[in-house]
């Protein structure tokens, strides 16, 4: 069990790295981190329930220019890990849905508050930048590499610490609540899940359609055609 928590926290660091400083290969996307964590914890269905909702919401966050959007890298890791940890204690359907509700809500909150941490990291990097330039001007060119390494280590450390703190706090605060109120939380999940999915689908549609009527029409045509194929395919 402790190894599972360790894997979750390390995943928080890896996701924080992938989100901005290293490679940006989308390992940090909630669907990817949730799937990996689901495999590690041995409960893919719960992880996917949370990962799908957080992924569809994460699409609305655009890291354009100097904007520090919501931190869905940490949100995805904490949300999925929290749900997995809660379900691992009582693997019943109601608890699974209640845990998914708690996981997604906490995941969104972690993502929103994480943007403040991103801003803090960027301020800390300002000092590194100034130091690197002054060192290079003094003839110590290796300072560039040292600053880059420091930036990576700092981001990993912050990612790990933030994920660990959020996971620890939410587990401490929500475990008993989910145990005693799983029926109500499961009801809330059945209401919130489709609303979140619809909200996320709208963001995706907005990204692609961009006021092109033809693309809007293609969306409608693909929706109707897929609907018919899925319905007829059963019969």
């Amino acid at each position: 069990m402790n190894l599972h928590y360790l894997a979750s926290v390390l995943m928080g660091g890896i996701a924080a790295l992938d989100a901005t400083p290293v490679a940006q290969t989308m390992i940090s996307q909630p669907l990817v981190t949730a799937t990996v964590l689901g495999m590690v914890w041995g409960d893919l269905p719960t992880a996917l329930q949370v990962g799908i909702v957080l992924q569809i919401l994460a699409v609305s966050t655009q890291p354009v220019g100097a904007k520090s959007g919501e931190d869905y890298a940490s949100g995805g890791v904490v949300g999925a890990s929290l749900a997995l940890a809660l379900v691992s204690r009582q693997p019943f359907l109601l608890v699974r849905e209640a845990s998914a509700m708690a996981g997604v809500l906490v995941g969104i909150a972690v993502a929103i508050f994480g943007s403040a941490l991103t801003r803090m990291l960027r301020r800390l990097n300002e000092g590194l930048g100034r130091w690197a330039e002054s060192e290079v001007r003094a003839g110590r060119e290796g300072a560039l590499g040292a600053a880059q390494r420091a930036g990576v280590v700092l981001c990993f450390g912050i990612g790990v610490s933030y994920s660990a703190a959020c996971l620890g706090l939410s587990l401490w605060g929500l475990s008993r609540f989910v145990d005693t109120e799983s029926l109500r939380l499961a009801k809330a999940w059945n209401l919130a899940q489709p609303l979140w999915l619809g909200l996320g689908l709208a963001q995706m549609l907005q990204s692609f359609v961009q006021r092109h009527l033809v693309r809007g029409a293609l969306f409608g045509a693909a929706l109707i055609a897929s609907w018919i194929i899925l319905m007829v395919g059963v019969r």
Binding site: P21, T25, M26, I27, Q29, L31, V32, T35, V36, L44, P45, L48, G51, I52, L57, Q62, V64, A66, V104, L105, I112, R122, R123, E126, L128, G129, A132, E133, V136, E141, L144, A147, Q148, G151, V152, R184, A188, N190, L191, A192, P194, L195, W196, L197, G198, L199, L201, A202, Q203, M204, S207, F208, V214, G216, L218, F219, A222, L223, L230, G233
Partner: protein, 248 residues
């Protein structure tokens, strides 16, 4: 001394850490200088000029991180001309970096953040909603099929094209790509919506369908305003549903 393919490969490897020290003051400046370091070391084997060139490159720079490789290639070509005694000074270098940075960001943000990322997410989600782990793999592969290719080849494109790299058909090719991905993406969102409404051929209950459409309409209506953000809407809706579960 001319630049070899080995020098450009070292730049390519370093582009993966372009944003390691991203900050509000210089943005990608330090990462840019570090990525270009192999080129500077080759062109200026030693001495004060090398230090001066490197320090110069730590200044402000920002663009979309994948397409930054194109700008790095163009800057490498310009540095080569400069080292060969051609009339390229610090001002010209700064101007080229500024113009390329803005132009590449304008295309790159639309291609990677507004189109490819939602497209890859859509592909992954279609499979993940059926409980398949392969959805995550497809999301990752779909994005990186383009991201890693452009990041790897971009330095060479920039080096060959120089400062005018975007006028040689690259811009048109990327714009075409954005258009095609957007068309396919629109259809994919339609397929994903159908898969969510009729998973495995069995339609979801009416409440689910109505709420999903309500969320979709709310999302489209709220998209016109910057605040509240979609995530803030999502958090608000989540809290509201929890509260309603207590009231029912």
């Amino acid at each position: 001394m001319p630049l070899g393919s080995g020098d450009l490969r070292r730049v390519v490897l370093r582009t993966h850490l372009l944003q390691a020290t991203w900050n509000y003051e210089r943005q990608q400046g330090v990462g840019w200088a570090w990525s270009l370091q192999p080129v500077i070391e080759r062109l200026y084997p030693k001495g004060e000029t090398r230090t001066e060139r490197l320090a110069e490159h730590t200044a402000y720079f920002n663009t979309q991180p994948t397409l930054a490789s194109v700008a790095l290639g163009a800057a490498a070509a310009l540095e080569e001309q400069r080292a060969n005694g051609e009339p390229v000074d610090a001002d010209i270098m700064a101007r080229v970096k500024g113009v390329l940075g803005s132009a590449l960001a304008a295309i790159g943000d639309r291609l990677f953040w507004f189109t490819l990322r939602p497209f890859a997410a859509c592909v992954g989600l279609i499979f993940a909603t059926r409980g398949m782990w392969v959805g995550a793999l497809l999301l990752w592969a779909c994005y990186n099929a383009l991201h890693l290719v452009i990041r790897t080849r971009g330095v060479e494109w920039g080096y060959r094209g120089g400062p005018g790299v975007l006028s040689e058909g690259l811009r048109a090719a990327l714009e075409r790509l954005i258009g095609r991905l957007s068309v396919m993406g629109s259809m994919l969102v339609g397929i994903l919506t159908a898969v969510l409404l009729v998973p495995g051929g069995e339609p979801r209950e009416v409440t689910f369908q109505v709420l999903l459409i309500a969320g979709l309409v709310l999302g489209l209506l709220s998209a016109a305003r910057a605040r509240p953000t979609p995530s803030q809407w999502a958090l608000g809706l989540g809290v509201l549903t929890v509260a309603s579960a207590w009231l029912r």
